[in-house]
Symmetry: C3
Subunit: 176 residues, 3 copies
């Protein structure tokens, strides 16, 4: 288990003054609550609307991220590809019925660059409940995000989901 | 597992402008932190004070909610009924000693109507620790709330607890 | 399981007006997100920087706290002692590789005294993922904190970690 030499996925202290960071922090909390509510309600067709047209979405294990292997379980480039994925997911929900619940905490606003792009992180748990079963932590990890402003709201330009939990490649179809 | 046709428990996008929603969001986070601290400390006799006189409190499984069956594990109408319940709970704590810990996240302010009533949601985990045992997720689910203002503070006019986790009817006595 | 007679670890309602409490609440959320990001990234050498020079850090089980036994798994007085601990932890990471993820929620601002010291609480889960394994709740509990201001940022003057989960004395080396 060697540590990554890629700075992107290691701790970077926030570079913002406290007042700016706090305002954006609550904005991002509200964004993530909407994002997760859509997924937990099973309305995956609305999921691409949280991204910019050319956004990147990727799910990678912490182990691969630490080894500098960017190849992950899921890779989507652009809203169209996300939309295709959403349609495919909706058609292939053949596995056992279950409920998903996202728990998102520890939001950090790391930086805002000259173009106004916001670099932020958050911790998440994806709690899964099989019907008639207990609730368990299906996935634990971090969001590494780049947000941009579009009118008065935020959109994801990039979301990297890095999960600590080891899962089978075919075990995760649904977006996180 | 059919999806609910009742809009109440499916995803509704927030109808508020971002600035208003954010202010209320932090207010509700503070409210829920107090609410849960009372329950986790075992001071259930203080629990009715978070509600209006005529408030409704209900705990229902996601499965029943999706089927449109409003009958749940717990139903209390009005502070007096909640108070009676709190007294009963306090007298019947005969089961194995345990600690409760609420984890509340993903607060969403969905709407504020003309009467100033706030419709909001949040995700919760109820973590249970049996003495000498590990900590496990006893219950995972959502709060569907209606808040009203009373002076400078919020009160619950209605709290619907919808839990994903399947539990036995006699397994949950304590408020969530 | 008798309840504590020590008021410090039982429920105390917040004594602040809502607007003041909310502002500080987001500040503390941002602080805890940084604090946990450092620990989850394995950069324990940065951990003492979140404390004042003479701060107290303590980890105690809920059971011992309730019995009024302040002796816990970890006790550190002052940044130097924390630094020594961090160095020791870094040298002795001989156990199975694992990832840590902190989930911090339910932040409560309980009081601000005349010296400007902030008394606050938060709930936490420490999620542990053994390499090749699932993610489980290693520790669940509360932070009981005293913050002071240093320039435009907060520092911990005291952090009491009270954990519900029963763990072996030698099972927890790493700060929480």
């Amino acid at each position: 288990m060697q540590k990554s030499t890629d700075k992107k996925y290691t701790y970077q202290p926030s570079r913002l003054d406290a007042a700016t960071a706090q305002h954006i922090l609550v904005e991002i909390e509200a964004f993530n609550a909407e994002y997760c509510a859509v997924l937990d309600a099973g309305q995956v067709e609305l999921w691409p609307e949280f991204f910019t047209e050319d956004a990147i979405y990727r799910i990678t294990s912490r182990e691969n991220a630490d080894l500098g292997l960017p190849v992950g379980l899921v890779y989507a480039e652009g809203r169209d590809m996300m939309h295709d994925r959403a349609v495919a997911v909706n058609r292939t929900q053949m596995f056992a019925p279950r409920y998903n619940l996202h728990i998102v905490t520890n939001t950090r606003v790391v930086d805002v660059n000259e173009q106004g792009e916001i670099q932020a992180e958050a911790n998440f748990l994806l709690i899964e409940t099989l019907v008639e079963g207990p609730s368990t932590t299906h996935l634990a990890g971090l969001y590494y995000d780049t947000f941009v402003r579009s009118g008065d709201k935020l959109l994801l330009k990039e979301r990297q989901v890095i999960h600590d939990t080891n899962i089978l490649a075919n075990d995760l179809v649904y977006p996180v």
